[in-house]
Each structure stands twice: as structure tokens, then as C-alpha cells.
């Protein structure tokens, strides 16, 4: 009986390990808390806000006209595909790497124009040093480019940045990174299904 029990435990452990190995990363994001602000202007703590849920996380700035809207739209399409598969418990988080311009109000407007459902979506900004520390955990970089001050004294810039969507499991572990603007949505949906298996 004891032998049978040991075999069953071993099989269970092997299956667990093989399931985890289906995705390439296994980085614990829960070791440190990051105090951020959501689109409602409320103080929130990452990763507390995603605890217990599989999360699709994108990195954006709202003044970006091309790449970041593609990333956001790909996350939106992923949400729709998951709903078609009756998966309604995945969270979507977009972290702005331009907190100087992306206030909660700006993020909320950005989300509303794109009809993002705040039941599933959280847009995050915060103190720049904290935002950039969190980005570092994901190996996401962003630097200012094309900085100009126009004739009226307005300072403007564009940003060069990592093009990234990340998949985080329900235990707050980073499991896979994707190119945000050109992600294969089917691949991401299948990876989410693997995490739920």
C-alpha cells in the first residue's frame, strides 16, 4: 500500500514538473511589493492585485501612436478569444513606462477610447523609480528619444522601448515573454490553457 502511494505521489510530481516545463520561464515576482497607482487614482500593490489569477501584462506608453496601441489591441483580442473559450478569470494589466505623462486620468481615457473592460483590466502608473524597478524585474527597458522643446516651450519626446507582453501564472511567476505588437494570439491563448490544465 505504501509502495502504491509512493508511486502515485511520484507520478503526480512528475506530471506537475512536466506541466511547468511547458513554458520557458519560471521567475518569482512575489518577492518584492511595488506601490503603484491604477487608472482610478487608487494606490495598489503589485503583485497583490494579480494574486491568484493568470495575468497577461503589457508594457506601454499612451503617447505611442503605433507599437503600444498594437500591443494593447493584441491584449484586447486575447481577452475576446479567452471569453469565446469560456475563460473569464484572466487579468489584464498594462504598465506605463512613461509615468511623467501617463497620469491615472490619461490612462483611463486611453482605456475608455479602446473600450477596455475594467472588470478585467488594470492600467498602472506610479512613481518613476518604482515603475522602472518593476520593469527591471521583467527585463523591460524604455528610453526617451527625439526630445524637443518647441517654440512655445513645450518639452516633448518619443520613447524607444522593449516590445513586450508577459504571461504570469496564478502564483505570481513570470512564465513567458512575447513580442507585444506582433504576438501570435493563438499561442498566448494556448499557453494560458496550459497554465489552467
Amino acid at each position: 500500500m505504501n509502495k502504491l502511494f509512493s508511486i502515485l505521489i511520484s507520478v503526480f510530481l512528475l506530471l506537475s514538473i512536466s506541466c511547468r516545463e511547458k513554458l520557458p520561464l519560471d521567475k518569482d515576482l512575489t518577492k518584492k511589493n511595488y506601490n503603484l497607482i491604477n487608472q482610478e487614482g487608487e494606490e495598489v500593490v503589485f503583485p497583490d492585485i494579480i494574486k491568484g489569477s493568470i495575468t497577461v501584462m503589457g508594457f506601454i506608453y499612451t503617447h505611442c501612436p503605433d507599437i503600444c496601441p498594437m500591443t494593447t489591441h493584441n491584449m484586447y483580442l486575447t481577452e475576446k478569444e479567452l471569453k469565446k473559450a469560456n475563460i473569464n478569470d484572466v487579468k489584464f494589466v498594462a504598465l506605463s513606462f512613461d509615468p511623467d505623462r501617463d497620469s491615472p486620468e490619461v490612462l483611463k481615457k486611453f482605456a475608455e477610447v479602446r473600450e477596455l473592460d475594467f472588470n478585467y483590466w488594470t492600467l498602472l502608473t506610479g512613481e518613476k523609480s518604482i515603475v522602472y524597478e518593476l520593469m527591471k524585474r521583467f527585463d523591460v527597458k524604455a528610453i526617451r528619444t527625439d526630445e524637443i522643446t518647441d517654440s512655445e516651450g513645450n518639452y516633448e519626446y518619443s520613447m524607444m522601448h522593449t516590445d513586450r507582453i508577459s504571461l504570469i501564472d496564478e502564483n505570481g511567476r513570470l512564465r513567458k515573454n512575447y513580442k507585444g505588437s506582433t504576438i501570435n494570439i493563438e499561442e498566448l491563448v494556448n499557453d494560458i490553457k496550459k497554465l489552467k490544465d
Binding site: H73, V113, R114
Partner: protein
């Protein structure tokens, strides 16, 4: 006035060697940025150059390209786009696009906006683009 316009039209007919197709832009909000995309068809034997785009929708309108360096992506202004003779050029997401900065009003799904494209050979071509979430 109408007679003068008619005479000018006969003397200087609009160039139909350049055709603009599938013009669309992303919805966005006032004071923010967005991008305009379209296909330029050049039916002429010779190349033409798009060097300026005007619109009342935004405070600044520039021709941009998206580029990548490793995992990093960025955008930069370009001065012009050359469309070779007997060819077409597509401004599309992740590539060349018209960047609209500091929008003067919200652009919602289905809204329309007018743009004036300036070509070296074909002159000015007015287009209308429709706002869509994504193609």
C-alpha cells in the same frame, strides 16, 4: 469664381497617377497621438515623393517610421517616402505611418478625418480616413 476654377481644372487637370486606398486611423483622445495608414499606388512610369501631410485634426503631423534595435522598438521622423513608378507603398502598423500629435479632439471608432497629402509630382491630394480599432 466657379468659371476660374473650371478653367484651372482644364489647364491643370489633377494628377491621377497617384491613387490612395484604404485610409484609416486609430481611435484616440484629445491631446494624445495617433497614426494614419493608407496605401499609395503610383501608376506613373516615374517615381513620386510624399513629403508633407496636413490636417486640422492635430497640432503636428509628421511622416514616421517604426524601427527596431534588438528587442527595442522606436519611431523616428522621416522627411519623405519615395514611391517608385508602377508600384505601391503601404503605410501600415509597425512600419511607416503618419503620426498625428496633440490631437485637437477625440477620434472615436467610425469618425472620419480629412488629410491633404503633398507629392512632388502629383501635387496635393485630399483624402478622408475612417477611425477603426485595428485592421
Amino acid at each position: 469664381m466657379n468659371a476660374l476654377l473650371a478653367i484651372l481644372f482644364v489647364l491643370f487637370p489633377p494628377d491621377d497617377n497617384i491613387k490612395i486606398k484604404d485610409a484609416w486611423m486609430r481611435p484616440s483622445s484629445e491631446k494624445m497621438a495617433t497614426a494614419l495608414y493608407f496605401v499609395i499606388e503610383n501608376k506613373s512610369e516615374t517615381a513620386d515623393t510624399l513629403f508633407l501631410v496636413d490636417s486640422d485634426l492635430a497640432e503636428r503631423v509628421e511622416i514616421h517610421e517604426t524601427y527596431s534595435e534588438g528587442e527595442m522598438m522606436g519611431m523616428r521622423k522621416v522627411d519623405f517616402i519615395v514611391i517608385e513608378g508602377q508600384s505601391s507603398f503601404e503605410l501600415k502598423p509597425g512600419a511607416h505611418h503618419i503620426m498625428l500629435m496633440k490631437l485637437k479632439k477625440n477620434i472615436n471608432d467610425g469618425d472620419k478625418g480629412e488629410f491633404m497629402l503633398h507629392f512632388k509630382q502629383a501635387g496635393e491630394i485630399k483624402i478622408t480616413a475612417t477611425a477603426k480599432k485595428q485592421k
